[in-house]
Symmetry: C2
Subunit: 280 residues, 2 copies
């Protein structure tokens, strides 16, 4: 076995796999009101944020996740104006959403303000749009907020949460999806990160059931590479009330500056269903 003393290693008991990044030093550690947050400097991946011993993001590869959590759903909705992000405290998803000129208001609701404050310090590029007048940052319980949200008031809900264990678990529930369904306009969409297509197939099946029970009639899963998450292959699941999935809206893509992964071909590609998933 190689010497791992200079490496930050996250091992997952549930999947029997782990991922390691070589670190040069620890930049910060604190126990917030909700969780333990650590920031490392890595040798090859920029800065690294770890929450409760799980890798959250690095400077180098977060663009894959943040672009795929935002642009596919924004380009599926015909004209998204009002967007709500549940979680997403690092503000990377918020930045991507604000690239869309048609969006009029984005509310980001993360319970832990410390994640955002540390992101401002250690991932400043993700926070460069936080002062956009269209952005509203709330540090409260996103589930309660959603339960009290006005009916038919939101075009897109992005659930940019941690894994379905601990604080993030209630975000993977029929009750939460029901609240989202109530708050969404009739042509509104929800998207939620849905773990690894290879390693978390039971979770995906349960999400489809729970989203269906909550009133969503059309559900699709998209896939993308995400090196620092277990298995390096990740997914997000989108749902909407109308039963027929619309043709994606390809217009306006050329106006979105700063994209590093997403484009029309990648959008289409992300929706391809592997043989083993098609069978299920």
């Amino acid at each position: 076995m190689p010497d791992t003393s200079q490496w930050f290693t996250e091992t997952s008991d549930a999947t029997g796999s782990g991922f390691a990044l070589r670190v040069s030093r620890k930049l910060h550690e604190e126990q917030s009101e909700y969780q333990k947050i650590e920031i490392y400097e890595t040798t090859d991946w920029g800065n690294l944020m770890v929450i409760d011993d799980c890798i959250m993001l690095t400077t180098r590869d977060n663009f894959l996740y943040h672009e795929m959590m935002s642009h596919p759903v924004l380009f599926t909705h015909p004209d998204p104006k009002r967007v709500v992000i549940i979680g997403g405290g690092d503000c990377g998803t918020l930045r991507e959403v604000l690239r869309h000129p048609g969006v009029q208001q984005v509310t980001q609701i993360d319970i832990d303000e410390r994640v955002t404050r540390l992101s401002e310090t250690f991932f400043p590029e993700l926070c460069e749009s936080n002062d956009d007048p269209r952005a509203e940052l709330l540090f409260i319980d996103g589930i309660k907020w959603m339960q009290q949200a006005e009916a038919d008031s939101i075009d897109i809900i992005i659930v940019d949460s941690t894994d379905p264990v601990g604080p993030g678990e209630v975000l993977f529930s029929e009750a939460f999806y029901r609240a989202c369904h109530h708050a969404l306009r009739p042509d509104g969409l929800i998207v939620q990160q849905s773990e690894s297509p290879l390693l978390h197939r039971e979770l995906l099946k349960r999400m489809y059931q729970d989203m269906g029970s909550a009133g969503f009639a059309a559900i699709r899963t998209l896939q993308f590479p995400q090196p620092v998450y277990p298995g390096g292959w990740w997914s997000a699941t989108m749902a909407m009330s109308p039963g027929a999935w619309p043709e994606p809206r390809y217009t306006g893509m050329e106006k979105i500056a700063g994209l590093r992964y997403f484009n029309r071909a990648i959008f289409d590609a992300s929706l391809a269903v592997p043989a083993f998933m098609a069978e299920e």
Copy 2:
């Protein structure tokens, strides 16, 4: 840092990242004439083969790599009959190629017979087609074999090699590509694993240059998830002599039994070029 004593961890100095699998026991270890080969039993990924401390494959996820190294190129060629595999000693690529009824002969050339013998013992499902009368297994130097191959005699060359360090390095060279180009029929194709699109971008650029210098006029890179390789996101690069890339041949896919990842949608998806690669 978690206890990693029950984990096999491969760390890569070049990428500053590592991957770990939880192992229950070591099943075998030997120093062959060419390399150190280890076999482990894992808790969640089936068996694991490690060569010179690098993870080669697991029972659980090798289907992604083997299907994507074979079917895209076989479905790009109009009528592949004669296929040569350089490397590929675990026989997983050979099995996929032999699923194509039109293929008349497949020669697999891996310098180390021990890899194949150990695969027969620990990955028997990958070797289930080794007795197919169309299969020829040679345990000699694949580069020498290619240099002496008859001109215009091969439809498809699959370079299923280790990384471009150590014994595999000469397979990533203009001289080798030139020998392949000479042995291929005019409409023949070569495909070679080309590492991570995110982490090995310099390698990809060099391959394009070297393949071009060797006479290949059209070159395309396909991508797929491969959890146990660095970064979990892998690529293969295809090249051919005619300058215009042909429309893939979609006919006959439904006749290929046993596919777990590859299908028409995944084929198309694998060719999507991410924004950062399109710019380069």
